[in-house]
Amino acid sequence: MSEGRARRRPASFFPSVMRVALAALSILAAAPAAAEELAERVAPCLACHGATGQSETPEVPSLGAQTAPYALIQLYLFREKQRVFDIMNEAAKGLSDDDLRSVSDFIAKLPAPRPPEDGADDARLERGRALVQRNHCNVCHRADLSGQENVPRIAAQREDYLVKTLRDYKSRARSGYDASMAEVLQPVADNEIPDLAYVIARWPGAK
């Protein structure tokens, strides 16, 4: 099987569970029937992202109280494959502009995620707080890291997702909608990223 053929991913190569999952996603792409509740349509999203706005799935972000403009931008990028991640590209495929708007508005109304209630490591928090200050995360993302407009809420985001995202921005594996994060991450050393993610995941309590 050549790589080119593999990229086309013929359905027969999919494990059956993948087909089931994709079928669930196709609910999203279906024409919106008037009676269909938005909550039903986003159920497949919430299976991974968490029904209460809080994700309990590794490397899958919490969506609760995310800013609607940021959510809309990401859904658009997934639909257009400008941000490449197969599951999300499939999920957003065929969604209309109005669908993208309704889903982002829905996401924005979910409750904000809560920081983990573990015994926080004070030394790491201290290092993390200094990094937040030095790199001015609290400027665009606001002092409580709740975000604004196109700048996302990052407070109490999953730590593993933050680590992955920061590394992807720094390496430019994720280019972002505009250039801001690629630029912001340049002065951040790779070994600083875990502490940065640690404190942001525990914000604002850790502030």
């Binding site: 299976a47 197969d86 001015h136 390496s171 430019r172 801001s180 340049q186």
Partner: protein, 434 residues
């Protein structure tokens, strides 16, 4: 719920192994960029670059914390929701929607047959607006591009400047429907994201001119950056045209002197009211240095990099265009529709500020020139893109149609407007009496 997600993610992982494709690239930072894009978003970083964050010098201050770059929505505004009735123009000028539905519409160029080409920065498209038997149609001409902000049209060929390469489509107006693949002519360019998007223009010497921005808000840029560069139309013979330039998103050639004029966006976070963005004129090609990072707006030494330098070492701007106002596209008016007083003057689209509490810009201004090419005055022409300190739209570029009317792109709403002039009989323009 949790169980179904685990199996779902697992399934996704198996799918990934089979596809061995783009997602794997995203998960492994060292891998090349997704195949959908024509260019890796900066796989190579100049190791010598002194890159600082856009937020360098941002104060820890509650008012400053409210400021962030404004990103337009990725979905264009519906034609009937465009703010065209909120815009104000001088008497007897009319503004209407020319075309809509083009997310992030930026640079404008017009072909010999009247096709309007529209670049973008945040989406992957160059659009073409065509007019067939009175029916206007806007649709993507090329997709899968990476920050295709710069466009130039010359003798049938469309040139496209992406973040780190320049390509062309020959005989473009005869290939509007068969998805032409641009042919790369030049790619010896840095891949920096900050100020990596380009403006493109063809000079009277039939060379392509473009900017390579500073890869930062304020920093000591590498040799390859903070400059204007030119190449021949086939991509050969690169030459540095000017240095010390932070970022340019608009250039045009004087129809009188053939000199190059360009807008330049100055640094952020120095203060609410300084420095002002600039209108520059290239006087000595290959020699001029416009001061970045040592000197801003022609007379303010940088608090960090300015030590040991004087602003007098650098070429001065011909006009100051307001702090953080973000002047982008600019064109000389050579048409005949507008009153004579506008002929050979410069129209400039001010995109509008983000690094300022009370927004300014969000308008089209006109710079009136003296005979020696210096600027006599800068006055508002079209206003109203800002209301209650919010953007209703943001003008990014402008271009003139053959009939002398003006097109304005609005990258916030994904639309293009047209400005026409028709003097009312009761009040002939003063300029026409002269």
């Amino acid at each position: 719920m949790k169980a179904s997600c685990r199996s779902f993610v697992l399934a996704g992982t198996v799918g990934l192994l089979l596809s061995a494709g783009p997602v794997a690239a995203q998960q492994s930072p060292a891998s090349p960029a997704p195949a959908a894009k024509t260019d890796a978003p900066g796989a190579m970083v100049n190791p010598n670059a002194t890159i600082n964050s856009v937020l360098k010098d941002a104060p820890q201050n509650p008012a400053a914390q409210k400021l962030a770059p404004v990103a337009p929505p990725p979905i264009p505004t519906a034609a009937d929701k465009l703010p065209v009735t909120k815009l104000q123009a001088p008497k007897d000028f009319k503004i209407e929607v020319f075309a809509s539905g083009m997310a992030n519409a930026r640079s404008l160029r017009i072909g010999d047959k009247g096709t309007v080409f529209v670049g973008s920065r945040l989406v992957d498209k160059v659009y073409a607006i065509t007019d067939r038997n009175g029916k206007r149609e806007a649709k993507p001409l090329v997709t899968g591009l990476y920050r295709p902000n710069g466009l130039a049209y010359h003798k049938g060929t469309l040139y496209i400047a992406e973040l780190s390469q320049i390509s062309k489509i020959d005989d473009v107006e005869n290939h509007l429907n068969d998805s032409p693949k641009p042919q790369v002519i030049y790619s010896d360019l840095p891949k920096d994201e900050p100020h990596g998007w380009k403006f493109l223009t063809v000079g009277p010497d039939e060379r392509l001119y473009f900017n390579i921005g500073a890869p930062c808000n304020i920093c000591m840029p590498p040799e390859t950056n903070a400059q204007l560069r030119s190449i021949k139309l086939d991509g050969s013979d690169p030459q540095v045209v000017a240095r010390g330039i932070r970022q340019v998103v608009g250039m045009d050639w004087s129809p009188v002197t053939k000199q190059l004029y360009f807008t330049e966006n100055q640094r952020d976070w120095l203060s609410e009211d300084i420095p002002q963005d600039k209108l520059n004129r290239l006087l000595h090609p290959g020699k001029d240095n416009f001061g970045f990072p040592y000197c801003h707006q022609g007379d303010i030494p940088d608090p960090e990099f300015g030590w040991g330098h004087s602003c007098d070492e650098f070429t001065k701007p011909v006009a100051l265009l307001g702090p953080h106002s973000a002047p982008l596209g600019m064109r000389f008016y050579t048409g005949h529709m507008f009153p004579a007083e506008y002929r050979n003057q410069i129209f400039i689209a001010r995109h509008g500020s983000w690094n300022k509490t009370k927004k300014i810009g969000g308008d089209i201004v006109v710079a009136t020139l003296n005979k020696d090419g210096t600027v006599k005055s800068v006055k508002p022409f079209i206003t109203g893109f800002i209301a209650n300190n919010n953007y209703l739209g943001r003008p990014a570029d402008l271009e003139f149609m053959k009939d002398g009317s003006m097109l304005i792109s609005d990258d916030f709403n994904g639309a293009v407007y047209r400005v026409t002039y028709a003097p009312s009989r009761s009040s002939p323009q003063v300029s026409e009496k002269r």
